[in-house]
């Protein structure tokens, strides 16, 4: 009861110094707002990372042609990765279930009647849907017979359907790829962004045989997708791969590799280090703005304490204990930071919605920022309100009244 009445009086004091209170509220609001957005973005990015890893496949390893450090994406000009390499991997490394070599051409002119556009062409193996866990939503995938006979058949991505064949049942239609007619036999399920970030739906899959011999006339492939027999075999297979490839490509120790290996772990690590950098930056921004809010709070509270010396002296004279004065000022600080925190949460939620709408970064809105925000705003209130409150409680009542 005693404290409730003190509390009621505190709010009166805050009302009296509206402008000052508003400044503190604004400061904390900015900090908590930033925090809310940060947590939202972080969670969204983390989820996207997990999505990508899941899409990549937890039991898969990718072997790309060409050296270098950039992951992922194959070097289109490398001519060193062959079907024989793929066969050797399948036969010689323990734990490999099957391999799926693939030829990638990022842009080819594709047309249907009077419409034309550029799409990525993938020459893919027979077991490609299985290798990628990629479903066919309409029509079918090509048959063993079509693969063997280098048929000009195509399974097209969702974006291809939308851009080239809008309003048309694509299955059975004829499209031209590099000036050769291909029959559309199926449509790939929409898959969204690749681990590299690009869309995976603007692609056209044709038999690898057709791609190598008839369309692009090459003897090498861009990548080999390796399916292991289980998650626990991924590491072992990835460890054996480099030695086999170096042996097959006659690469001696100081020479650089002409291939790259991407594992789910590597992908995860890469994505996490990227989001970690983002995280640290945003966390620093949040910490700085909260600190600024706290410093504003402390200064204004100190100002308030010196302005209200008479009030403090009076309260002590009529029987207020040091603890009562301390609590009153601490409560004033807490009230301001809590209000700032709540406004900050609202601002942050709104900011997250806007960020999700107008940027590519995914934002997830959840309860954690609310809990963290409220806890942090209390922490700011206590940490930065304590010094002024202590100073108030230690004021010598006789001096304060003079």
């Amino acid at each position: 009861m005693r404290y409730w009445r003190l509390v009621k009086q505190s709010t009166g004091a805050l009302h009296r110094n509206r402008l000052r209170s508003a400044m503190v509220i604004l400061g904390v609001m900015a900090g908590i707002g930033a925090l809310t957005v940060v947590v939202g973005i972080t969670k969204g990015v983390n989820r996207r990372v997990m999505d990508r890893v899941n899409k990549f496949g937890s039991t898969a390893i990718m072997l790309f042609a060409g050296g270098g450090k950039n992951v992922p994406g194959g070097d289109q000009s490398a001519r060193t990765l062959t079907l024989d390499d793929a066969g050797a991997i399948e036969q010689q490394i323990d734990g490999v279930d099957f391999v799926c070599p693939q030829l990638m051409r990022p842009r080819a002119a594709v047309s249907h009647r009077d419409r034309s556009a550029q799409f990525a062409i993938m020459g893919v193996c027979k077991r490609w849907p299985e290798a990628w866990d990629w479903e066919i939503t309409e029509g079918r995938f090509f048959s063993e017979q079509e693969y063997g006979s280098m048929s000009r058949v195509a399974v097209i991505g969702r974006t291809v359907v939308d851009e080239l064949l809008p309003g048309v049942n694509p299955v059975g239609e004829s499209i031209r790829i590099n000036n050769a007619n291909f029959r559309v036999i199926g449509v790939l399920a929409a898959r969204g962004a690749s681990p590299g970030g690009g869309s995976m739906d603007d692609r056209i899959a044709i038999p690898l045989t057709t791609a190598m011999r008839r369309t692009f006339n090459v003897t090498s492939v861009t990548l080999v997708r390796i399916r292991t027999t289980g998650v626990d075999r991924v590491e072992g297979v990835a460890a054996e791969l480099p030695a086999l490839m170096r042996e097959r490509h006659h690469i001696q120790a100081p020479q650089p590799d002409d291939f790259r290996i991407v594992t789910p772990d590597a992908l995860l690590g890469l994505a996490q280090s990227a989001s970690g950098t983002l995280n640290r930056t945003l966390t620093a921004v949040t910490a700085i703005s909260l600190l600024a809010g706290g410093v504003v709070l402390m200064n204004l509270m100190l100002l308030s304490v010196s302005e209200r010396r008479r009030e403090i002296g009076l309260r002590r004279a009529v029987g207020g204990r040091r603890g009562d004065v301390l609590l009153q000022f601490l409560f004033e600080a807490l009230t301001l930071t809590t209000v700032g925190g709540v406004f900050g949460l609202i601002l942050g939620a709104a900011g997250s919605v806007v960020a999700a709408k107008y940027t590519t970064s995914p934002v997830e809105i959840s309860w954690e920022p609310a809990a963290i925000g409220v806890a942090l705003s209390w922490a700011v209130g206590i940490v930065f309100g304590l010094l002024p409150a202590r100073r108030a409680s230690r004021l010598h009542s006789a001096d304060a009244l003079r």
Binding site: L314, R316, R321, L401
Partner: protein, 244 residues
């Protein structure tokens, strides 16, 4: 009621020691109205702070209702102030933007338990200073004299046996000052001990006893003739302006 025995107060500023009170000894009985008179710089404020349990003396004993005040800790002394003493300062020291009633109730907030009839007590205190029609006015809507009366009501609300008034009329004109003095005299007739600290002999003359503070030492003035009655003085004043 009040017993000061050999009170010393020395302010220390670095190596410089300034004695302000020297061996101050006096008593005031329950129900007395005593004035302590002194020029500025005589140690009045220091004495007031000690009497109000706001500042500890350097030496000596202060007994209030038989209790050795400064042998207690700060929280206990706060409780003594709350229970035993009603303060009236030169300035009303009211909380801004808070109604007269809420200002009056302030000491009750700091009481060990908030009394159930608090509001009624606050209203009664305001009535006893003649402000029953200004209960919900805020300080900035009240005149100086009215503000001082709110301060007196605040001093009364906890029903303390001692009212400590430090230059209560110092900021007021003669008429308003007499009005305040009349209220204090009325409270004294109702049985409260009143200690009036002032530099103004005209105001001190309303007390039954007058102590003089000079160079940090208190001397009892010669027994005054009958104390002045502020209410009667007011009647004698020309009724030129009604301050209320």
């Amino acid at each position: 009621m009040i017993e000061l025995i050999g009170i010393d107060k020395i302010y220390t500023n670095g190596a410089v020691e300034t004695p302000v009170l020297r061996d101050v000894t006096f008593q005031a009985a329950k129900g007395e109205m005593v004035a302590v008179m002194g020029a500025s710089g005589s140690g009045k404020t220091t004495l007031m702070n000690i009497l109000g349990c706001l500042d500890a003396p350097s030496g000596g004993v202060y007994k209030l209702n038989g209790v050795d005040v400064f042998s207690h800790d700060d929280d206990a002394i706060s409780a003594i102030r709350n229970q035993e003493i009603g303060f009236v300062f030169q300035q009303a020291n009211l909380l801004e933007r808070v109604s007269a009633l809420d200002n009056v109730l302030l000491p009750l907030i700091y009481a060990e338990t908030y009394p159930s009839g608090a509001k009624q007590r606050g209203l009664a205190a305001l009535r006893s200073v003649g402000l029953e029609d200004r209960v919900h006015y805020r300080p900035d809507q009240l005149s100086g004299g009215q503000q001082q009366r709110v301060a007196i009501a605040r001093a009364l609300v906890g029903n303390p046996p001692l009212i400590l008034a430090d230059e209560p009329t110092g900021n007021l004109d003669r008429r308003t000052g007499l009005e305040i003095m009349a209220i204090l005299q009325k409270l004294n007739r109702e049985g409260r001990t009143i200690l009036l600290i002032t530099h103004d002999a005209n105001m001190a003359a309303h007390a039954q006893r007058i102590l003089t503070l000079r160079d940090g030492t208190v001397t009892e003035a010669e027994k005054p003739e009958a104390p002045l009655d502020a209410a009667k003085e007011l009647e004698k004043l020309p009724a030129e302006r009604g301050e209320q």
